[in-house]
């Protein structure tokens, strides 16, 4: 029909039309709006005589910067007549970006390999017979690129018409509506009409699991998702099947996408083919308020944007941070938000004589706690900070309990003998981005894929790019890059320390070896001995040098690093077993059986998770999405959360509760604002105040740590994280996370 229609239009050069307009090039085209566009050759010839001589310099797109390693390799190309210097090997599209011209694209993504199959980025290059796909064409010296000529415009218009041919007119019911690349670019570069009158093709939707919703008829086969899955997520789940109009994206056999990064395909999909299942039909993107904050579900501190409407968090999206999470986030970060709406503590409660909780006023609850804390001896008071605590509240808790005479303040996950003396002994000294320089990795008792998915993505990126070797000591694990399983326990570690293991030579010959130690080892009884063995390995392998510090500890929780910086170290390791008053500040993963039966337990937190059942008094606090708090991630980068939504019920910020309690207990803390508490933190750990900065460590542990006389026990290393999707109070309350662990982990 299409051809017939064209033919009939061509054969009908109505006399009236011929009279009204000067005769054009042969056929009257049915598409196109301006006369110049209809006859590219003529207008090109017309434009040639006077090329604009003085062009104002343009700014690069999105602040793109060019790094010229050696100036001899630089080449000069001309984009729309404007000369730019770029390094050899850049593509035409990148050259255009440096010149400040944004080329439309669908399949090209600067973190993925080049596919060149959407043809949207066609530009005109002088002396080239046809328009070239700029994303796949290397820029050559002296190339004259034209992005704004009638040929380029016509090429884009044609590509857009072909793309829209089989794209459903779904926009009013599509979740991508308003943030859709296809919508935007068809407005900017598309025609005002199409010539397609046939039936659109349809594709069966694929079931990719509980997180990603598919509407495959909307797919334009850019294959970004396929490339993301194979290159970055490291799972070979997605692929392209069929050819021509039968081409489909899918899993080859019916299966779910089992990657911890699968949510990112929602972001990179330029159309609405892959959208978020939990967010489906919940809101339009222009109704949402974005709050730029950080994630606390693991120790990476991924930069996120919380999108909320009113009091409700509706979705979480990644924010660009090249040093931490690039532009990806893990599924736990992205989809844990529905946990913020369930099982919330919203009223202060006191457990009555009958064992039932009764909602009371803040005044009564604080008065009761203030009364009880004076009835016990100072050494019987124990405070435990939870894994989601911010630095401010931990500072307040430590100050409060110190004023009560107790020094038994700890943070869960740091073990009984935390080594807080040297900062290099508990943070990732190389930095997350620095891992890309490493050429040999030694993972000791850590499974980065479940403990810190973004760090794992970085290791995978390095392994893919430089074929770095990875050695792993720990229980057998499912990893998404090639690794050598050296052993399962301390046995192998001793062999490595004594130089008997074949991997030792690999470490020695490496230029930048990196050792990554899991924070799960903190909990072991023989942690000191194990860490000194690891330090021996580091010394022998020359891992810590003035120019390279490859000794890394991969922490598990958002609060850990700040807790150690602030010195939340218990005076006596087993103080909790003899405690009479236990203050749990969001601590849900401690062993509740350790708390004596007659102890008075105060639980301050935002979720009714595990510890509330042991509590005598519950003080409701705000979650990370509702407060302003400072967190330090595993590489020692200080970041702050910002409140995106109001607190629920009668809940208050953590540090405010502790501050109020100190006043009721008669030992008033000397600060009553966030500024005040931060200046107090500054006196304890100055690095925690410089936000968005990473304070490098000054001393390395290898030379400073005292010798230990502990014996290494032969017990194998365990899994620090059993279930990737459920690690803290928020994720355990989340329904989506429960679905994920049921369907993807079969738990």
């Amino acid at each position: 029909m299409g051809l017939g229609l064209l033919a009939s239009r061509a054969l009908r050069p109505a006399a009236s039309r011929l009279l009204r307009y000067p005769p054009r090039h042969g056929l009257a085209r049915a598409i196109g709006s301006t006369p110049e566009r209809q006859s590219p050759e003529a207008s090109a010839a017309q434009a040639q005589p006077d090329p604009a001589p003085e062009l104002p310099p343009r700014k690069p797109v999105a602040g793109a910067r060019v790094h010229l390693p050696n100036p001899e390799d630089a080449i000069e190309v001309f984009v729309d007549g404007y000369p730019v210097k770029i390094p050899k090997g850049m593509t035409v599209l990148q050259a255009c970006e440096v010149a400040g011209v944004d080329i439309p694209r669908f399949c090209y993504h600067n973190r993925l390999s080049i596919a060149g199959n959407c043809r949207m980025c066609l530009v005109e290059v002088e002396k080239s017979p046809k328009p070239v796909a700029s994303c796949a064409m290397p820029a050559l010296p002296g190339m004259k690129i034209k992005t704004d000529t009638p040929i380029a415009k016509k090429a884009r218009e044609g590509v857009m018409e072909f793309l829209l041919m089989n794209h459903p007119l779904d926009c009013p019911i599509c979740d991508q509506g308003g943030e859709c690349d296809l919508q935007d670019q068809s407005m900017a570069f598309g025609s005002d009409r199409g010539r397609f009158t046939e039936v659109k093709r349809s594709v069966v939707d694929k079931n990719l699991g509980p997180l990603v919703k598919t509407v495959m008829t909307r797919c334009i086969q850019c294959t970004r998702c396929v490339r993301f899955a194979t290159e970055i997520a490291g799972v070979q789940d997605l692929g392209v099947l069929g050819r021509g109009s039968g081409e489909e994206i899918g899993t080859y056999v019916e299966k779910l996408m089992t990657s911890e990064l699968s949510g990112n395909v929602i972001d990179i999909c330029p159309v609405g083919a892959l959208t978020s299942k939990p967010f489906a039909f919940k809101a339009r993107n222009w109704e949402l308020k974005g709050t730029e904050t950080i994630d606390v579900t693991d120790a990476v501190g991924s930069n996120i944007r919380i999108d909320s409407r009113g009091p409700e968090v509706l979705r979480i999206l990644p924010r660009l941070n090249e040093d931490i999470n690039e532009e990806w986030i893990s599924d736990k970060t992205r989809f844990c938000y529905d946990g913020l709406k369930r099982q919330r503590l919203n009223d202060p409660m006191i457990r009555g004589a009958d064992g039932r909780f009764q909602a009371v006023s803040w005044h009564d609850a604080l008065a009761m706690v203030g009364e009880v804390i004076h009835k016990v001896g100072p050494e019987e008071i124990v405070g435990v900070a939870g894994k989601l605590s911010d630095a401010e509240s931990m500072m307040a808790l430590k100050d409060f309990l110190n004023r009560m005479g107790s020094n038994n303040v700890m943070c869960e996950g740091n073990g009984k003998h935390p080594n807080a003396d040297l900062r290099s002994g508990y943070i990732m000294n190389t930095g997350i981005a620095g891992l890309e320089k490493a050429d040999v990795f030694l993972l000791v008792g850590t499974q980065p894929r479940v403990e810190a998915a973004m760090v794992n993505a970085r290791i995978r990126k390095t392994v893919r790019a430089t074929h770095a070797k990875v050695g792993y000591i720990g229980p057998p694990t499912d990893s998404n890059y090639d690794h050598e399983h050296l052993g399962t326990g301390p046995q192998t570690l001793t062999e490595l320390a004594e130089g008997r293991h074949p991997f030792c030579s690999t470490l020695k010959n490496a230029k930048n070896p990196a050792i990554i130690v899991g924070a799960g080892l903190f909990e072991r009884e023989d942690s000191d001995a194990i860490f000194s063995a690891i330090e021996t390995i580091a010394k022998n392998g020359n891992v810590v040098r003035p120019d390279w510090n490859g000794y890394n500890v991969l922490l598990l929780h958002a609060a850990q690093a700040a807790a150690l910086d602030l010195g939340l170290v218990p005076q006596s390791p087993d103080s909790i077993k003899s405690a009479k008053f236990v203050y749990l500040m969001g601590a849900d993963d401690i062993n509740l059986k350790d708390i004596p039966d007659d102890a008075f337990v105060v639980y301050q937190g935002h979720h009714g998770d595990q510890s509330v059942y042991r509590a005598n008094v519950i003080l409701p606090a705000s979650a990370f999405s509702e407060k302003e708090g400072t967190y330090e991630n595993t590489e020692g980068c200080i970041q702050q959360t910002l409140p995106a939504v109001p607190t629920v019920g009668d809940a208050r910020d953590d540090w405010k509760i502790v501050r109020a309690l100190s006043e009721v207990a008669g030992v008033q803390l000397p600060y009553d604002s966030v500024g005040g508490i931060r200046s107090r933190i500054w006196t304890v750990a100055p690095n925690l105040v410089s936000v968005d900065e990473r304070e490098p460590t000054t001393f390395s542990t290898t030379t400073m740590r005292p010798n230990t006389n502990q014996k290494i026990s032969p017990n194998d290393f365990g899994m620090a994280v059993e279930n990737f999707y459920m690690t803290d109070a928020i994720t355990r309350a989340s329904k989506i996370m429960a679905q994920c662990s049921a369907m993807l982990l079969k738990k």
């Binding site: 099982q343 909780f357 009714g608 629920v648 019920g649």
Partner: protein
């Protein structure tokens, strides 16, 4: 006029003076003195056909012939003091407004038994007025819950 007087005398003779006066009051003749509208209806009724009486006691009259067309059907409300148009039940409304020629008694048979609601007059301004309360109002029986979170329930978890 003479006919009215004759009728009145006949009534007194039949019922006795006391009963006659009571009936006179109940029928609203005494109110006629102050309410010209009612008096006009009473005068109109003379010689008209009583078509029916609904369950509230409203009387429906019709007079064909010498009455102006469009004024040939009317109602005398049972309530003589505070009558208003909303006291006419649905089944008589059609007949009264010339929508149909079926009387209310005929239409009553079509009324659905299961879900046909009982007629209630409009009580606005009478103390029993229907007042709309918004979805979030405490007096709305179907009050919507605008809290967007579910709180932890201590009752079902008393394990200690």
């Amino acid at each position: 006029m003479a006919a009215i007087l004759r009728g009145a005398l006949k009534g007194i003779k039949e019922k006795g003076l006391g009963n006659f006066l009571r009936d006179l009051k109940e029928e609203g003749y005494l109110k006629c003195l102050a309410d010209g509208n009612l008096l006009q209806t009473k005068l109109h009724n003379i010689g008209a056909t009583l078509v029916g009486v609904d369950k509230f006691g409203n009387k429906y009259y019709e007079r064909l012939g010498e009455t102006q067309h469009g004024r040939h059907r009317w109602v005398e409300y049972a309530e003589k003091g505070r009558y208003n148009a909303s006291q006419v039940p649905a089944e008589w409304h059609g007949w009264l407004h010339h929508i149909t020629d079926h009387t209310g008694d005929e239409l009553l048979m079509l009324k659905p038994k299961r879900y046909g609601a009982e007629h209630r007059e409009n009580l606005s301004g009478e103390g029993e007025a229907y007042i709309y309360h918004s979805k979030g109002h405490a007096l709305n029986p179907g009050q919507r819950d605008w809290t967007r979170y579910k709180s932890w329930e201590p009752a079902k978890t008393d394990s200690q």
